[in-house]
Symmetry: C2
Subunit: 519 residues, 2 copies
């Protein structure tokens, strides 16, 4: 009898939380679907609200003891939830637009994170002690900067229309991905920094570490993508079973992430570039049904992982243990929270507007209006105000040990992070649509009709093919004038890359020959 | 510095084993693909051999300390690996053939397991103490019976050809699935049994528990399948995004399993019937690309889970800790192992041949040869001799606590189970092809050509549709003679079920109307 009870308790240890999360995920899906037409509320908001309600119920059932049934382990996040999200971003990215706007995206995604985290770090370092909220170490202030510089652009992407604002959409999407990677890489670089002696060299060391991590991680991802493509092309698994080629793609993508983590590189960058390479080469070496399947598998895994994270954030918001442990008055907590939100607004404004000017200067064309108008800049600024999963995960990594913290200051920082994520997702998220409607009025007119008429299948399979084709014609149009070639270096690089790709890469690694004529 | 080291150690705790398993899985895939033409070696054998080699390498690197880097937790198996395997079996099963041979499959899969485990239990109870290997409790002897009655038919299914031996294939496949479910349900029923007083009532109680578990689990699975189908049909998620309908199918299937486990029912049966219902109704309510994707996702997950298990078994075979802990001479261990293999051979023969006679009697047709010849019976007997993942998992559940055991007898039983799985998979697995070639010579002639010409896409999408259509014509042919209807009750039930399905179920839950004319 004892054995039976022991077995039951032991067995239910994992079964109860897993079942509950799966059931809540199903609920999120159904409600998210029903609210699809209502663009004020997006999936993240739905998940956070359902999570909070579930948290309240658990809190009441456990009589005020605990609101969560699963301890947040940043391992769970970094090992299982983040890889599919980032891989999918790389896999589904519109490569042509991504690479055409590469410089602007890098400006926002890399330089922007540096500026924003410098401002958040400096601001919190200066303001927190004045609010009676001190005691953070220099390393922790630096970490706070990166934690609150990682953005979550999902909200804005749901409102922006790719067809009507291709440039804006591409910038917001591209920045979102690069920003995630940069924040994590910068966070890791800070972890390895010797903060006891901060001086000019420290900053140089940080930049050096960052560049090292960035380039090696990218190289690893590219390498993995090419190896997978080569394997799939030479062995042609599909001959015997589609199952095997699918498994190879999924497992190799995951292996690239894990290997990067093992080598203390940035798995996030590795898996992003692995995704790009796989969709550029490997994807063409598999059977037709595997192509459809991979697009959907990766999109689904990414979607479920994202929803899970927001569900968890909502549930964790009511974690009484952490609230009690902060040992701070509500006033101090509110003050530190308001300071952080202010710093986020300021930190983002401090790079979006200046860097847009730089981008406009670089992308200038004679007799043409500037690509990024002031209204566009406001949308870009707004799009990056939401904080999401990466912030939470970095905060847990910095301030807890396997999700547990006993230090009041760390607990306060976790609580702060969760409130910031909740506030920005809910309040800024709600305001996103009205704001964009107001700034870019044309978008709204056709938004509902456009969404309805587009079949989901098209949505997922067309982008890759169509972008490939139009890239060539674009480059050809540009080529007619030598002066434009010189004036717009990105296009030139793109043009020569495509020639190289066609001549050497695609024959080895797979992919259709583009219609670029021989010169 | 201390913090960094702590972070690294903590982070690598999970990263190292996960990366290694993913890398080994990739290796298995590639080698499995290269050996595809060689039918002597199948995926299970490849995975076991690669696992053993990896285990040896780890054993040498750790200087004889340990051969495994991941502790086997039967939770991992029952919560994450088994559900996709069984769900996929239900989802891909050819429903027409499965239900036409339902009675024979149930005879082998349910009654057979009872007979086989009675023989293994009685045999080991009688023989083990004579070999100097005693000390098992009555409950453990009963558990040993079920542990060694669950079969692994993958090996045989790879050699048999569905088109040439539809009846045989369907029986071996169907028995394999029902057998897994029955073993687990029987195992759980034994766990709940009061073994201190074994008498006639105990046996009745066991049968009663078994029937209760079997019927409630099936009902739950059917319910979940119908709810999912209804949700997908009424809400039509695909209107907005295919991702959501995919996620709903995957999550609901998983939820059915978890809920069954939570209610102390048999998740394996629930998820199997959920799979059947989903492929019968829900599958028709999703977009075209989701249909292709689901078939492949489930097949891939099942494949990866299976390969993972065999990889683990191979690695665990060299677990020195367990070998040392058994504290038994190699002679005793060999004797108990040989006894088990003998009992497996005997236990299976004891039901296959008698039950085949029963099946032949029930399926007799005038002026037609008996459906199951003696050669067929030998193939069925042989097909179920291999022991696999379910045996391992049940053994770990019975004899360890979260993969750890300190008891020499339990350690010996785990070691025995692993040797039996290794031996049957490797030796019997190797002999499967020559045996079938010898017994059913026709199969071999076209096996290579047939396999080569069939595209994998056809392989995965056709079965469901074609079997639906032919079912109707079959039933109509039968209907011409009333005497045959009476003589063959299965067909009659099938016919009326299809009428009911067409008239009431499909309009509510989805699926194409069959071409059955109104009577």
């Amino acid at each position: 009898m004892f054995e039976l009870v022991r077995n039951l308790v032991h067995q239910h240890e994992q079964v109860v939380p897993v079942s509950m999360f799966v059931a809540l995920l199903c609920l999120c899906l159904v409600i998210g679907h029903l609210l699809e037409e209502n663009r004020w509320v997006n999936e993240s908001i739905t998940a956070i609200i359902i999570g909070s309600i579930a948290g309240t119920v658990i809190l009441l059932l456990s009589k005020g003891k605990s609101s969560h049934i699963l301890r947040f382990d940043e391992q769970l996040f970094f090992i299982y939830l983040l890889p599919p999200i980032i891989f999918n971003a790389g896999f589904q990215v519109k490569k042509k637009q991504f690479f055409q706007n590469f410089i602007t995206i890098m400006l926002f995604g890399v330089i922007g994170v540096f500026i924003s985290s410098a401002i958040v770090t400096a601001g919190s370092w200066w303001l927190f002690p004045m609010l009676g909220f001190g005691g953070l170490t220099p390393r922790e202030y630096l970490a706070v900067g990166t934690i609150f510089s990682s953005t979550d652009t999902v909200c804005t992407l749901q409102v922006l229309h790719q067809d009507e604002n291709p440039l804006l959409y591409s910038l917001v999407f591209g920045e979102g991905v690069v920003n995630d990677a940069t924040s994590v890489v910068l966070f890791n670089a800070i972890q390895q920094l010797d903060v006891s002696r901060i001086n000019g060299q420290t900053f140089l060391k940080l930049i050096g570490d960052f560049i090292y991590l960035f380039s090696t991680s990218t190289a690893l991802g590219v390498g993995f993508g090419l190896v997978t493509a080569y394997l799939l092309k030479t062995l042609y698994f599909g001959r015997h079973s589609t199952v095997r080629e699918l498994a190879v793609m999924v497992l190799m993508a995951y292996l690239s992430y894990m290997l990067a983590e093992l080598l203390v590189l940035s798995g996030i960058l590795t898996v992003f570039f692995c995704g790009i390479l796989m969709s550029h080469y490997a994807w063409y070496n598999v059977t037709e049904s595997s192509r459809i399947t991979t697009r959907h598998i990766f999109a689904m895994m990414s979607f479920v992982a994202e929803t899970f994270i927001f569900l968890y954030v909502g549930m964790d918001a009511l974690d009484m243990e952490k609230w009690k442990m902060t040992r701070q008055s509500l006033g101090t907590l509110m003050a530190s929270f308001s300071t952080l939100v202010f710093l986020i607004l300021l930190g983002r404004a401090a790079f979006v507007f200046p860097l847009s000017v730089v981008s406009n200067y670089m992308n200038r064309r004679p007799n043409m209006p500037t690509p990024l108008t002031f209204k566009h800049q406001v949308v870009i600024w707004w799009a990056g105000l939401m904080r999401g999963a990466v912030s939470i995960a970095l905060a847990f990594k910095q301030f807890t040990f396997s999700g547990v913290t006993w230090d009041p200051i760390s607990a306060a920082m976790i609580t702060n992070t969760i409130i910031v994520v909740l506030f920005t997702t809910l309040v800024f998220g709600f305001l996103t649509k009205p704001l964009i409607l107001c700034l870019l009025p044309r978008v709204s007119d056709t938004s509902d009709g456009g969404q309805g008429s587009k079949s989901p299948k098209e949505d997922l399979t067309l982008p890759l093919l169509s972008s490939e084709e139009s890239a060539t014609s674009n480059v050809l149009r540009e080529k007619n004038s030598l002066s434009m070639l010189i004036g717009r270096p990105v296009y030139t690089v793109h043009f020569y890359w495509r020639k190289f790709d066609d001549k050497y890469m695609r024959p080895i690694f797979g992919g259709p020959r583009s219609s670029l004529p021989e010169c």
